[in-house]
Amino acid sequence: MTDFAITTHQLAKTYSSGFGKKAIHALKGVDLEVGHGEIVGILGPNGAGKTTLLKILLGVVSPTSGTGTLLGRPIGDVKSRHRLGYLPENHRFPPYLTARQTLDVYGRLSRLDDATLKERIPMLIEEAGLSSWIDTRVGKFSKGMMQRLGLAQAMINDPDVLVLDEPTDGVDPVGRREIRDRLRLLKARGKTILINSHLLTEIELLCDRVAILNRGEIVQVGSIDDISGSQSGWRIECRSLQSGFDLSNFGASLEGPDHESGIIVPSGSLDNLNALIDHLRQANGQIVSVERHRRSLEAGFLDIIDREEKS
Protein backbone atom coordinates (compact mmCIF):
# COMPACT_ATOMS: atom_id res chain seq x y z
CA MET A 1 0.00 0.00 0.00
CA THR A 2 1.35 3.46 -0.91
CA ASP A 3 1.38 6.33 1.55
CA PHE A 4 -1.41 8.13 -0.25
CA ALA A 5 -4.82 7.01 -1.40
CA ILE A 6 -4.87 9.67 -4.12
CA THR A 7 -2.01 11.53 -5.77
CA THR A 8 -1.88 13.84 -8.74
CA HIS A 9 1.20 15.31 -10.34
CA GLN A 10 1.01 18.30 -12.66
CA LEU A 11 -2.46 17.25 -13.78
CA ALA A 12 -3.72 19.46 -16.58
CA LYS A 13 -6.82 19.51 -18.73
CA THR A 14 -7.53 21.73 -21.69
CA TYR A 15 -10.89 21.61 -23.40
CA SER A 16 -10.85 22.72 -26.98
CA SER A 17 -14.41 23.55 -27.99
CA GLY A 18 -13.77 23.19 -31.70
CA PHE A 19 -11.95 24.64 -34.65
CA GLY A 20 -11.11 28.30 -34.20
CA LYS A 21 -12.60 28.46 -30.71
CA LYS A 22 -10.62 29.43 -27.66
CA ALA A 23 -9.22 26.58 -25.58
CA ILE A 24 -10.36 26.38 -21.97
CA HIS A 25 -7.68 25.46 -19.46
CA ALA A 26 -9.79 23.73 -16.83
CA LEU A 27 -6.79 22.45 -14.86
CA LYS A 28 -3.25 23.81 -14.97
CA GLY A 29 -0.83 21.44 -13.30
CA VAL A 30 -2.58 20.28 -10.15
CA ASP A 31 -0.52 18.55 -7.45
CA LEU A 32 -2.55 16.92 -4.71
CA GLU A 33 -1.95 14.18 -2.18
CA VAL A 34 -4.69 12.64 -0.07
CA GLY A 35 -3.65 10.27 2.69
CA HIS A 36 -5.45 7.07 3.62
CA GLY A 37 -8.34 7.74 5.99
CA GLU A 38 -8.38 11.48 5.37
CA ILE A 39 -11.42 13.60 4.52
CA VAL A 40 -10.34 16.29 2.10
CA GLY A 41 -12.59 19.01 0.74
CA ILE A 42 -12.14 20.63 -2.63
CA LEU A 43 -13.24 24.26 -2.63
CA GLY A 44 -13.33 26.80 -5.36
CA PRO A 45 -15.58 29.21 -7.21
CA ASN A 46 -17.69 28.03 -10.15
CA GLY A 47 -15.53 27.01 -13.09
CA ALA A 48 -12.46 26.52 -10.91
CA GLY A 49 -11.99 22.98 -12.20
CA LYS A 50 -13.23 21.03 -9.17
CA THR A 51 -15.53 18.64 -11.05
CA THR A 52 -12.94 18.20 -13.80
CA LEU A 53 -10.39 17.16 -11.19
CA LEU A 54 -12.76 14.59 -9.70
CA LYS A 55 -13.73 13.27 -13.13
CA ILE A 56 -10.09 12.82 -14.12
CA LEU A 57 -9.50 10.80 -10.95
CA LEU A 58 -12.45 8.59 -11.90
CA GLY A 59 -11.44 8.09 -15.53
CA VAL A 60 -14.50 9.94 -16.83
CA VAL A 61 -12.32 12.69 -18.31
CA SER A 62 -8.80 12.11 -19.62
CA PRO A 63 -6.08 14.53 -18.59
CA THR A 64 -4.26 16.51 -21.27
CA SER A 65 -1.03 16.01 -19.33
CA GLY A 66 0.18 14.96 -15.93
CA THR A 67 -0.18 11.79 -13.93
CA GLY A 68 -1.97 10.52 -10.89
CA THR A 69 -2.69 7.44 -8.85
CA LEU A 70 -5.76 6.09 -7.14
CA LEU A 71 -5.06 3.47 -4.50
CA GLY A 72 -1.64 2.89 -5.99
CA ARG A 73 -2.83 2.42 -9.58
CA PRO A 74 -2.65 4.94 -12.41
CA ILE A 75 -5.80 6.99 -12.77
CA GLY A 76 -7.89 5.79 -15.68
CA ASP A 77 -6.94 2.16 -14.98
CA VAL A 78 -10.15 0.13 -14.56
CA LYS A 79 -8.64 -1.75 -11.61
CA SER A 80 -8.08 1.52 -9.75
CA ARG A 81 -11.87 1.81 -9.50
CA HIS A 82 -12.47 -1.56 -7.80
CA ARG A 83 -12.36 -0.02 -4.34
CA LEU A 84 -13.90 3.30 -5.28
CA GLY A 85 -17.33 4.80 -4.65
CA TYR A 86 -18.58 7.86 -6.50
CA LEU A 87 -21.54 10.14 -6.08
CA PRO A 88 -21.75 12.51 -9.06
CA GLU A 89 -23.31 15.95 -8.91
CA ASN A 90 -26.83 15.84 -10.36
CA HIS A 91 -26.74 12.08 -10.72
CA ARG A 92 -29.60 10.60 -12.69
CA PHE A 93 -30.66 7.13 -11.74
CA PRO A 94 -32.99 5.56 -14.28
CA PRO A 95 -36.43 6.57 -12.96
CA TYR A 96 -38.00 3.22 -13.79
CA LEU A 97 -35.74 1.34 -11.37
CA THR A 98 -36.72 0.80 -7.75
CA ALA A 99 -34.24 1.61 -5.00
CA ARG A 100 -33.42 -2.09 -4.68
CA GLN A 101 -32.97 -2.52 -8.45
CA THR A 102 -30.76 0.58 -8.61
CA LEU A 103 -28.36 -0.79 -6.03
CA ASP A 104 -28.54 -4.22 -7.67
CA VAL A 105 -27.55 -2.86 -11.10
CA TYR A 106 -24.73 -0.65 -9.82
CA GLY A 107 -23.60 -3.45 -7.50
CA ARG A 108 -23.30 -5.83 -10.44
CA LEU A 109 -21.33 -3.20 -12.32
CA SER A 110 -19.07 -3.06 -9.26
CA ARG A 111 -18.53 -6.81 -9.71
CA LEU A 112 -20.35 -7.84 -6.53
CA ASP A 113 -21.77 -11.35 -6.37
CA ASP A 114 -25.40 -12.17 -5.57
CA ALA A 115 -24.70 -13.15 -1.97
CA THR A 116 -22.94 -9.85 -1.23
CA LEU A 117 -25.69 -7.86 -2.92
CA LYS A 118 -28.35 -9.71 -0.95
CA GLU A 119 -26.59 -8.77 2.25
CA ARG A 120 -25.57 -5.18 1.44
CA ILE A 121 -28.62 -3.82 -0.38
CA PRO A 122 -31.11 -3.98 2.55
CA MET A 123 -28.39 -2.80 4.94
CA LEU A 124 -27.50 0.27 2.86
CA ILE A 125 -31.14 1.06 2.16
CA GLU A 126 -31.83 0.96 5.88
CA GLU A 127 -28.83 3.17 6.64
CA ALA A 128 -30.15 5.62 4.05
CA GLY A 129 -33.51 5.64 5.82
CA LEU A 130 -35.29 4.34 2.73
CA SER A 131 -36.46 0.94 3.97
CA SER A 132 -40.12 1.69 3.39
CA TRP A 133 -39.27 2.89 -0.13
CA ILE A 134 -37.08 -0.03 -1.15
CA ASP A 135 -39.44 -1.25 -3.86
CA THR A 136 -40.62 2.18 -5.01
CA ARG A 137 -39.45 3.56 -8.34
CA VAL A 138 -36.80 6.21 -7.83
CA GLY A 139 -38.67 8.49 -10.24
CA LYS A 140 -40.99 9.18 -7.29
CA PHE A 141 -38.15 10.08 -4.92
CA SER A 142 -37.53 13.60 -3.63
CA LYS A 143 -34.16 15.24 -4.22
CA GLY A 144 -33.06 14.44 -0.68
CA MET A 145 -34.07 10.79 -1.02
CA MET A 146 -32.22 10.56 -4.33
CA GLN A 147 -29.14 11.97 -2.68
CA ARG A 148 -29.31 9.44 0.15
CA LEU A 149 -29.80 6.65 -2.37
CA GLY A 150 -26.86 8.06 -4.33
CA LEU A 151 -24.69 7.80 -1.27
CA ALA A 152 -25.88 4.22 -0.68
CA GLN A 153 -24.97 3.47 -4.30
CA ALA A 154 -21.51 4.93 -3.79
CA MET A 155 -21.01 2.62 -0.82
CA ILE A 156 -22.40 -0.53 -2.41
CA ASN A 157 -18.93 -2.06 -2.84
CA ASP A 158 -17.71 -0.97 0.61
CA PRO A 159 -15.11 1.26 -1.04
CA ASP A 160 -11.80 2.41 0.42
CA VAL A 161 -12.08 5.76 -1.36
CA LEU A 162 -15.27 7.79 -1.69
CA VAL A 163 -15.48 10.67 -4.14
CA LEU A 164 -18.51 12.85 -3.48
CA ASP A 165 -19.55 15.72 -5.70
CA GLU A 166 -21.99 17.96 -3.80
CA PRO A 167 -23.25 15.17 -1.51
CA THR A 168 -25.64 17.39 0.46
CA ASP A 169 -27.02 19.26 -2.54
CA GLY A 170 -30.80 19.57 -2.15
CA VAL A 171 -30.85 17.83 1.21
CA ASP A 172 -32.66 19.45 4.14
CA PRO A 173 -30.72 20.31 7.33
CA VAL A 174 -31.74 17.09 9.07
CA GLY A 175 -30.69 15.05 6.05
CA ARG A 176 -27.41 16.96 5.85
CA ARG A 177 -26.66 16.15 9.45
CA GLU A 178 -27.41 12.47 8.78
CA ILE A 179 -25.07 12.47 5.78
CA ARG A 180 -22.37 14.19 7.85
CA ASP A 181 -22.77 11.59 10.59
CA ARG A 182 -22.48 8.79 8.07
CA LEU A 183 -19.36 10.29 6.55
CA ARG A 184 -17.79 10.64 10.00
CA LEU A 185 -18.62 7.01 10.64
CA LEU A 186 -16.94 6.06 7.37
CA LYS A 187 -13.88 8.09 8.33
CA ALA A 188 -13.77 6.25 11.62
CA ARG A 189 -13.74 3.03 9.59
CA GLY A 190 -10.63 4.28 7.81
CA LYS A 191 -12.24 5.36 4.52
CA THR A 192 -10.67 8.10 2.46
CA ILE A 193 -13.18 10.73 1.35
CA LEU A 194 -12.78 13.48 -1.21
CA ILE A 195 -15.63 15.99 -1.18
CA ASN A 196 -16.50 18.77 -3.55
CA SER A 197 -19.12 21.01 -2.00
CA HIS A 198 -20.29 24.58 -2.22
CA LEU A 199 -21.53 24.39 1.34
CA LEU A 200 -18.53 25.61 3.26
CA THR A 201 -20.11 24.85 6.59
CA GLU A 202 -20.32 21.19 5.56
CA ILE A 203 -16.66 21.19 4.61
CA GLU A 204 -15.75 22.95 7.85
CA LEU A 205 -17.62 20.40 9.93
CA LEU A 206 -16.28 17.36 8.10
CA CYS A 207 -12.89 17.82 6.54
CA ASP A 208 -9.41 17.30 7.92
CA ARG A 209 -7.90 19.31 5.10
CA VAL A 210 -9.07 21.56 2.34
CA ALA A 211 -7.65 22.23 -1.12
CA ILE A 212 -8.66 25.49 -2.76
CA LEU A 213 -8.82 25.53 -6.53
CA ASN A 214 -9.03 28.73 -8.49
CA ARG A 215 -8.84 29.03 -12.28
CA GLY A 216 -7.54 25.49 -12.60
CA GLU A 217 -4.78 25.79 -10.02
CA ILE A 218 -4.52 24.74 -6.41
CA VAL A 219 -3.85 27.96 -4.56
CA GLN A 220 -3.76 26.56 -1.06
CA VAL A 221 -3.94 23.25 0.73
CA GLY A 222 -4.18 23.03 4.46
CA SER A 223 -6.22 22.34 7.56
CA ILE A 224 -9.40 24.29 8.26
CA ASP A 225 -7.41 26.49 10.66
CA ASP A 226 -4.76 27.12 7.99
CA ILE A 227 -7.38 28.22 5.51
CA SER A 228 -9.55 30.24 7.88
CA GLY A 229 -6.49 32.04 9.23
CA SER A 230 -6.87 30.50 12.67
CA GLN A 231 -7.76 33.86 14.17
CA SER A 232 -9.55 32.79 17.26
CA GLY A 233 -10.38 35.16 20.07
CA TRP A 234 -13.52 36.70 21.48
CA ARG A 235 -16.44 38.63 20.14
CA ILE A 236 -18.10 41.21 22.37
CA GLU A 237 -21.51 42.57 21.55
CA CYS A 238 -21.83 45.95 23.14
CA ARG A 239 -24.54 48.61 22.79
CA SER A 240 -24.70 52.33 23.57
CA LEU A 241 -21.03 52.74 22.79
CA GLN A 242 -19.96 56.26 21.92
CA SER A 243 -18.51 56.84 18.51
CA GLY A 244 -14.78 57.41 18.45
CA PHE A 245 -14.24 54.94 21.27
CA ASP A 246 -10.61 53.85 21.10
CA LEU A 247 -10.08 50.07 20.96
CA SER A 248 -6.50 50.09 19.71
CA ASN A 249 -4.96 49.83 23.21
CA PHE A 250 -6.53 46.40 23.54
CA GLY A 251 -5.63 45.16 20.06
CA ALA A 252 -9.38 44.93 19.34
CA SER A 253 -11.30 46.04 16.29
CA LEU A 254 -14.88 46.60 15.22
CA GLU A 255 -16.48 43.83 13.21
CA GLY A 256 -18.48 46.24 11.09
CA PRO A 257 -18.59 49.86 10.05
CA ASP A 258 -20.39 51.36 13.08
CA HIS A 259 -20.18 51.19 16.82
CA GLU A 260 -23.24 48.94 17.01
CA SER A 261 -21.13 46.20 15.41
CA GLY A 262 -19.46 43.50 17.42
CA ILE A 263 -15.99 44.00 18.83
CA ILE A 264 -13.43 41.41 17.91
CA VAL A 265 -10.72 40.80 20.46
CA PRO A 266 -7.79 38.66 19.31
CA SER A 267 -6.79 35.69 21.40
CA GLY A 268 -4.44 36.67 24.16
CA SER A 269 -4.57 36.97 27.88
CA LEU A 270 -7.87 36.98 29.69
CA ASP A 271 -6.63 40.06 31.54
CA ASN A 272 -6.70 41.99 28.28
CA LEU A 273 -10.29 40.87 27.62
CA ASN A 274 -11.41 41.80 31.11
CA ALA A 275 -9.62 45.14 30.96
CA LEU A 276 -11.47 45.93 27.72
CA ILE A 277 -14.81 44.95 29.27
CA ASP A 278 -14.08 47.23 32.25
CA HIS A 279 -13.21 50.00 29.85
CA LEU A 280 -16.42 49.49 27.89
CA ARG A 281 -18.50 49.51 31.08
CA GLN A 282 -16.84 52.73 32.24
CA ALA A 283 -17.82 54.28 28.92
CA ASN A 284 -21.45 53.26 29.65
CA GLY A 285 -21.37 50.52 27.06
CA GLN A 286 -24.04 47.80 27.56
CA ILE A 287 -22.42 44.37 27.26
CA VAL A 288 -24.94 42.03 25.59
CA SER A 289 -22.71 39.00 25.08
CA VAL A 290 -19.13 37.79 25.14
CA GLU A 291 -18.41 34.68 23.13
CA ARG A 292 -15.51 32.72 21.67
CA HIS A 293 -14.83 33.93 18.18
CA ARG A 294 -13.35 31.84 15.40
CA ARG A 295 -12.93 33.07 11.87
CA SER A 296 -15.06 31.02 9.52
CA LEU A 297 -13.75 28.90 6.68
CA GLU A 298 -15.88 31.01 4.38
CA ALA A 299 -14.06 34.20 5.44
CA GLY A 300 -10.69 32.54 4.92
CA PHE A 301 -11.75 31.08 1.60
CA LEU A 302 -13.06 34.41 0.33
CA ASP A 303 -9.85 36.16 1.43
CA ILE A 304 -7.75 33.66 -0.48
CA ILE A 305 -9.86 33.92 -3.62
CA ASP A 306 -9.87 37.75 -3.43
CA ARG A 307 -6.12 37.75 -3.02
CA GLU A 308 -5.72 35.46 -6.00
CA GLU A 309 -8.02 37.55 -8.16
CA LYS A 310 -6.10 40.71 -7.31
CA SER A 311 -2.74 39.14 -8.01
Binding site: Y15, G59, V61, P88, N90, H91, R92, Y106, L109, V163
Partner: protein, 288 residues
Amino acid sequence: MRTLSGSLLLTFRELWAMRLTQGILLVSTLAWLFLSFAMNLDVVEGSLAAVRIFGLESTPSDMIKDAETGEWVRQAVSVDKFVVGINSFVFGASYFLGTLLGLFATMPLIRGFLEQGRIDLLISKPVSRNQLLSGHLLGVVLTVLVLASYLVGGVWVALSLKTGVWFTHVLMSIPLIVIMFTVMYSVILTVTVMTRSNGLALILAYGLIFISAIMAAHEQILPVLSPTAKTAFNTMYHLLPNFVEVVIIQAQLVTGEAVASWYSLISSILFGAVIYGLGFIWFNRRDF
Protein backbone atom coordinates in the same frame (compact mmCIF):
# COMPACT_ATOMS: atom_id res chain seq x y z
CA MET B 1 -19.99 -11.59 -16.62
CA ARG B 2 -21.25 -9.70 -13.54
CA THR B 3 -20.70 -6.36 -15.21
CA LEU B 4 -22.29 -7.59 -18.42
CA SER B 5 -25.34 -8.77 -16.50
CA GLY B 6 -25.57 -5.31 -14.93
CA SER B 7 -25.47 -3.60 -18.33
CA LEU B 8 -28.00 -6.04 -19.79
CA LEU B 9 -30.38 -5.61 -16.86
CA LEU B 10 -30.21 -1.85 -17.23
CA THR B 11 -31.05 -2.04 -20.95
CA PHE B 12 -33.81 -4.64 -20.58
CA ARG B 13 -35.46 -2.75 -17.74
CA GLU B 14 -35.34 0.50 -19.68
CA LEU B 15 -36.90 -1.12 -22.75
CA TRP B 16 -39.56 -2.69 -20.56
CA ALA B 17 -40.22 0.64 -18.85
CA MET B 18 -40.60 2.32 -22.23
CA ARG B 19 -43.47 -0.13 -22.92
CA LEU B 20 -41.82 -0.81 -26.27
CA THR B 21 -41.41 -4.53 -25.76
CA GLN B 22 -44.94 -4.92 -24.43
CA GLY B 23 -46.33 -3.04 -27.45
CA ILE B 24 -44.51 -5.23 -29.96
CA LEU B 25 -45.37 -8.39 -28.05
CA LEU B 26 -49.04 -7.35 -28.10
CA VAL B 27 -49.03 -6.66 -31.85
CA SER B 28 -47.24 -9.97 -32.48
CA THR B 29 -49.73 -11.86 -30.31
CA LEU B 30 -52.63 -10.25 -32.18
CA ALA B 31 -51.01 -11.29 -35.49
CA TRP B 32 -50.80 -14.92 -34.63
CA LEU B 33 -54.12 -14.99 -32.80
CA PHE B 34 -55.61 -13.61 -36.00
CA LEU B 35 -53.97 -16.35 -38.05
CA SER B 36 -54.98 -19.00 -35.52
CA PHE B 37 -58.61 -18.10 -34.93
CA ALA B 38 -59.90 -15.44 -37.31
CA MET B 39 -58.70 -17.09 -40.48
CA ASN B 40 -60.02 -20.46 -41.55
CA LEU B 41 -58.70 -22.35 -44.54
CA ASP B 42 -60.48 -25.03 -46.58
CA VAL B 43 -57.84 -27.18 -48.15
CA VAL B 44 -58.83 -29.69 -50.82
CA GLU B 45 -56.16 -31.96 -52.25
CA GLY B 46 -53.32 -29.51 -51.55
CA SER B 47 -55.18 -26.53 -52.95
CA LEU B 48 -56.94 -23.75 -51.14
CA ALA B 49 -60.65 -24.09 -51.82
CA ALA B 50 -61.66 -21.14 -49.62
CA VAL B 51 -60.36 -18.70 -47.02
CA ARG B 52 -62.70 -17.36 -44.33
CA ILE B 53 -61.69 -14.29 -42.38
CA PHE B 54 -64.04 -13.47 -39.50
CA GLY B 55 -66.58 -15.66 -41.30
CA LEU B 56 -66.35 -13.82 -44.63
CA GLU B 57 -65.47 -16.30 -47.34
CA SER B 58 -63.16 -15.71 -50.24
CA THR B 59 -61.91 -18.07 -52.96
CA PRO B 60 -58.31 -17.21 -53.79
CA SER B 61 -57.40 -18.18 -57.31
CA ASP B 62 -54.70 -17.71 -59.90
CA MET B 63 -55.20 -17.00 -63.60
CA ILE B 64 -53.25 -19.59 -65.55
CA LYS B 65 -53.00 -20.31 -69.26
CA ASP B 66 -54.54 -23.66 -70.27
CA ALA B 67 -51.90 -25.68 -72.10
CA GLU B 68 -54.43 -27.33 -74.43
CA THR B 69 -56.83 -24.52 -75.28
CA GLY B 70 -54.44 -21.58 -74.73
CA GLU B 71 -57.13 -19.74 -72.80
CA TRP B 72 -56.70 -18.05 -69.40
CA VAL B 73 -58.61 -19.94 -66.72
CA ARG B 74 -59.01 -19.68 -62.96
CA GLN B 75 -57.32 -22.27 -60.77
CA ALA B 76 -57.33 -22.71 -57.02
CA VAL B 77 -54.16 -21.48 -55.25
CA SER B 78 -51.93 -24.20 -53.84
CA VAL B 79 -51.53 -24.16 -50.05
CA ASP B 80 -47.76 -23.90 -50.44
CA LYS B 81 -48.11 -20.76 -52.51
CA PHE B 82 -50.60 -19.27 -50.05
CA VAL B 83 -48.25 -19.94 -47.12
CA VAL B 84 -45.32 -18.40 -49.00
CA GLY B 85 -47.47 -15.36 -49.79
CA ILE B 86 -48.52 -14.85 -46.16
CA ASN B 87 -44.96 -15.47 -44.97
CA SER B 88 -43.55 -13.00 -47.49
CA PHE B 89 -46.03 -10.35 -46.38
CA VAL B 90 -45.50 -10.85 -42.65
CA PHE B 91 -41.75 -11.09 -42.85
CA GLY B 92 -41.39 -8.23 -45.32
CA ALA B 93 -43.51 -6.03 -43.07
CA SER B 94 -41.51 -7.14 -40.03
CA TYR B 95 -38.29 -6.31 -41.82
CA PHE B 96 -39.24 -2.80 -42.90
CA LEU B 97 -41.64 -1.72 -40.18
CA GLY B 98 -39.80 -3.61 -37.46
CA THR B 99 -36.50 -1.96 -38.30
CA LEU B 100 -37.89 1.54 -38.79
CA LEU B 101 -39.97 1.41 -35.62
CA GLY B 102 -37.23 -0.40 -33.74
CA LEU B 103 -34.70 2.32 -34.57
CA PHE B 104 -37.15 5.01 -33.56
CA ALA B 105 -38.09 3.27 -30.34
CA THR B 106 -34.56 2.38 -29.20
CA MET B 107 -33.18 5.82 -30.02
CA PRO B 108 -33.92 7.29 -26.53
CA LEU B 109 -32.06 4.38 -25.00
CA ILE B 110 -28.62 5.47 -26.15
CA ARG B 111 -29.44 9.09 -25.31
CA GLY B 112 -30.37 8.06 -21.76
CA PHE B 113 -27.24 5.93 -21.54
CA LEU B 114 -25.05 8.93 -22.43
CA GLU B 115 -26.90 11.38 -20.20
CA GLN B 116 -24.73 13.48 -17.89
CA GLY B 117 -25.03 12.21 -14.33
CA ARG B 118 -25.56 8.68 -15.59
CA ILE B 119 -22.71 7.91 -17.96
CA ASP B 120 -20.12 9.36 -15.56
CA LEU B 121 -21.45 7.11 -12.82
CA LEU B 122 -21.29 4.08 -15.13
CA ILE B 123 -17.73 4.89 -16.18
CA SER B 124 -16.67 5.30 -12.54
CA LYS B 125 -17.44 1.61 -12.02
CA PRO B 126 -14.65 -0.95 -12.51
CA VAL B 127 -15.82 -1.68 -16.04
CA SER B 128 -14.05 -0.77 -19.28
CA ARG B 129 -15.83 1.58 -21.63
CA ASN B 130 -15.86 -1.15 -24.28
CA GLN B 131 -17.69 -3.46 -21.88
CA LEU B 132 -20.22 -0.77 -21.04
CA LEU B 133 -21.05 0.01 -24.65
CA SER B 134 -21.02 -3.68 -25.64
CA GLY B 135 -23.42 -4.44 -22.80
CA HIS B 136 -25.78 -1.73 -24.01
CA LEU B 137 -25.57 -2.94 -27.61
CA LEU B 138 -26.01 -6.57 -26.66
CA GLY B 139 -29.09 -5.71 -24.60
CA VAL B 140 -30.71 -3.92 -27.54
CA VAL B 141 -29.84 -6.67 -30.04
CA LEU B 142 -31.01 -9.48 -27.75
CA THR B 143 -34.32 -7.68 -27.24
CA VAL B 144 -34.78 -7.32 -31.00
CA LEU B 145 -33.91 -11.01 -31.40
CA VAL B 146 -36.55 -12.02 -28.84
CA LEU B 147 -39.20 -9.75 -30.38
CA ALA B 148 -38.45 -10.85 -33.95
CA SER B 149 -38.47 -14.50 -32.89
CA TYR B 150 -41.78 -14.04 -31.10
CA LEU B 151 -43.44 -12.38 -34.09
CA VAL B 152 -41.94 -14.42 -36.92
CA GLY B 153 -41.83 -17.69 -34.96
CA GLY B 154 -45.37 -17.24 -33.70
CA VAL B 155 -46.75 -16.50 -37.16
CA TRP B 156 -44.81 -19.41 -38.60
CA VAL B 157 -46.13 -21.85 -35.98
CA ALA B 158 -49.73 -20.58 -36.33
CA LEU B 159 -49.65 -20.79 -40.12
CA SER B 160 -47.90 -24.13 -40.19
CA LEU B 161 -50.37 -25.67 -37.74
CA LYS B 162 -53.23 -24.33 -39.82
CA THR B 163 -51.97 -25.51 -43.16
CA GLY B 164 -49.78 -28.45 -42.26
CA VAL B 165 -47.02 -26.90 -44.35
CA TRP B 166 -43.81 -26.48 -42.32
CA PHE B 167 -41.37 -24.30 -44.29
CA THR B 168 -38.53 -24.12 -41.80
CA HIS B 169 -36.34 -21.98 -44.06
CA VAL B 170 -38.61 -18.97 -43.44
CA LEU B 171 -37.17 -18.80 -39.94
CA MET B 172 -33.96 -17.54 -41.55
CA SER B 173 -35.81 -14.25 -41.68
CA ILE B 174 -35.22 -13.83 -37.95
CA PRO B 175 -31.41 -13.53 -38.07
CA LEU B 176 -31.74 -11.39 -41.18
CA ILE B 177 -34.02 -8.89 -39.40
CA VAL B 178 -31.73 -8.85 -36.35
CA ILE B 179 -28.57 -8.41 -38.44
CA MET B 180 -29.96 -5.56 -40.49
CA PHE B 181 -31.40 -3.85 -37.42
CA THR B 182 -27.97 -4.13 -35.80
CA VAL B 183 -26.33 -2.66 -38.91
CA MET B 184 -28.67 0.33 -38.92
CA TYR B 185 -28.40 0.74 -35.14
CA SER B 186 -24.66 1.30 -35.65
CA VAL B 187 -25.57 4.67 -37.17
CA ILE B 188 -27.82 5.61 -34.23
CA LEU B 189 -25.23 4.56 -31.66
CA THR B 190 -22.18 6.12 -33.30
CA VAL B 191 -23.77 9.41 -34.30
CA THR B 192 -25.28 9.83 -30.83
CA VAL B 193 -21.94 9.03 -29.17
CA MET B 194 -20.20 11.57 -31.40
CA THR B 195 -22.75 14.37 -31.36
CA ARG B 196 -25.20 13.52 -28.57
CA SER B 197 -27.87 14.41 -31.10
CA ASN B 198 -30.53 11.74 -31.33
CA GLY B 199 -32.41 13.62 -34.02
CA LEU B 200 -29.38 13.75 -36.29
CA ALA B 201 -28.71 10.06 -35.69
CA LEU B 202 -32.25 9.10 -36.68
CA ILE B 203 -32.23 11.35 -39.76
CA LEU B 204 -28.97 9.75 -40.92
CA ALA B 205 -30.18 6.20 -40.29
CA TYR B 206 -33.47 6.79 -42.11
CA GLY B 207 -31.59 8.71 -44.83
CA LEU B 208 -29.37 5.71 -45.44
CA ILE B 209 -32.42 3.46 -45.73
CA PHE B 210 -33.90 5.88 -48.26
CA ILE B 211 -30.63 5.99 -50.22
CA SER B 212 -30.50 2.18 -50.17
CA ALA B 213 -33.92 2.15 -51.89
CA ILE B 214 -32.41 4.21 -54.73
CA MET B 215 -29.31 2.05 -54.84
CA ALA B 216 -31.43 -1.09 -55.06
CA ALA B 217 -32.25 0.06 -58.59
CA HIS B 218 -28.56 0.42 -59.49
CA GLU B 219 -28.84 -1.83 -62.53
CA GLN B 220 -31.41 0.50 -64.07
CA ILE B 221 -29.77 3.73 -62.93
CA LEU B 222 -26.10 3.09 -63.78
CA PRO B 223 -26.47 3.00 -67.60
CA VAL B 224 -27.92 6.53 -67.71
CA LEU B 225 -25.22 8.13 -65.54
CA SER B 226 -22.08 9.98 -66.67
CA PRO B 227 -18.76 8.22 -65.94
CA THR B 228 -18.09 10.45 -62.88
CA ALA B 229 -21.58 10.02 -61.50
CA LYS B 230 -21.33 6.30 -62.21
CA THR B 231 -18.15 6.08 -60.11
CA ALA B 232 -19.74 8.06 -57.29
CA PHE B 233 -22.90 5.92 -57.39
CA ASN B 234 -20.89 2.70 -57.46
CA THR B 235 -18.77 3.85 -54.53
CA MET B 236 -21.88 4.61 -52.52
CA TYR B 237 -23.40 1.29 -53.51
CA HIS B 238 -20.41 -0.63 -52.20
CA LEU B 239 -19.78 1.49 -49.09
CA LEU B 240 -23.26 2.13 -47.71
CA PRO B 241 -25.65 -0.47 -46.27
CA ASN B 242 -27.92 -2.09 -48.85
CA PHE B 243 -30.91 -2.26 -46.57
CA VAL B 244 -33.55 -2.49 -49.29
CA GLU B 245 -31.62 -4.90 -51.49
CA VAL B 246 -31.33 -7.34 -48.60
CA VAL B 247 -35.09 -7.83 -49.02
CA ILE B 248 -34.27 -9.88 -52.14
CA ILE B 249 -32.24 -12.26 -49.99
CA GLN B 250 -35.09 -12.39 -47.52
CA ALA B 251 -37.64 -13.13 -50.26
CA GLN B 252 -35.45 -15.92 -51.58
CA LEU B 253 -35.09 -17.37 -48.10
CA VAL B 254 -38.82 -17.18 -47.44
CA THR B 255 -39.72 -18.82 -50.73
CA GLY B 256 -37.06 -21.48 -50.30
CA GLU B 257 -35.12 -20.43 -53.39
CA ALA B 258 -31.35 -20.52 -53.45
CA VAL B 259 -29.91 -17.11 -52.58
CA ALA B 260 -28.41 -15.69 -55.79
CA SER B 261 -26.02 -13.26 -54.06
CA TRP B 262 -25.16 -12.52 -50.44
CA TYR B 263 -23.23 -9.40 -51.44
CA SER B 264 -25.77 -6.83 -50.20
CA LEU B 265 -25.87 -8.50 -46.79
CA ILE B 266 -22.11 -8.87 -46.51
CA SER B 267 -21.38 -5.28 -47.55
CA SER B 268 -24.02 -4.07 -45.07
CA ILE B 269 -22.44 -6.07 -42.25
CA LEU B 270 -19.03 -4.61 -43.14
CA PHE B 271 -20.54 -1.12 -43.08
CA GLY B 272 -22.00 -1.80 -39.64
CA ALA B 273 -18.69 -3.18 -38.36
CA VAL B 274 -16.79 -0.08 -39.50
CA ILE B 275 -19.36 2.30 -38.00
CA TYR B 276 -19.38 0.40 -34.71
CA GLY B 277 -15.58 0.53 -34.72
CA LEU B 278 -15.73 4.30 -35.05
CA GLY B 279 -18.37 4.55 -32.35
CA PHE B 280 -16.37 2.45 -29.89
CA ILE B 281 -13.15 4.41 -30.57
CA TRP B 282 -15.00 7.69 -30.05
CA PHE B 283 -16.69 6.43 -26.90
CA ASN B 284 -13.32 5.41 -25.48
CA ARG B 285 -11.74 8.79 -26.15
CA ARG B 286 -14.58 11.06 -25.26
CA ASP B 287 -14.79 13.09 -22.04
CA PHE B 288 -18.11 12.97 -20.25
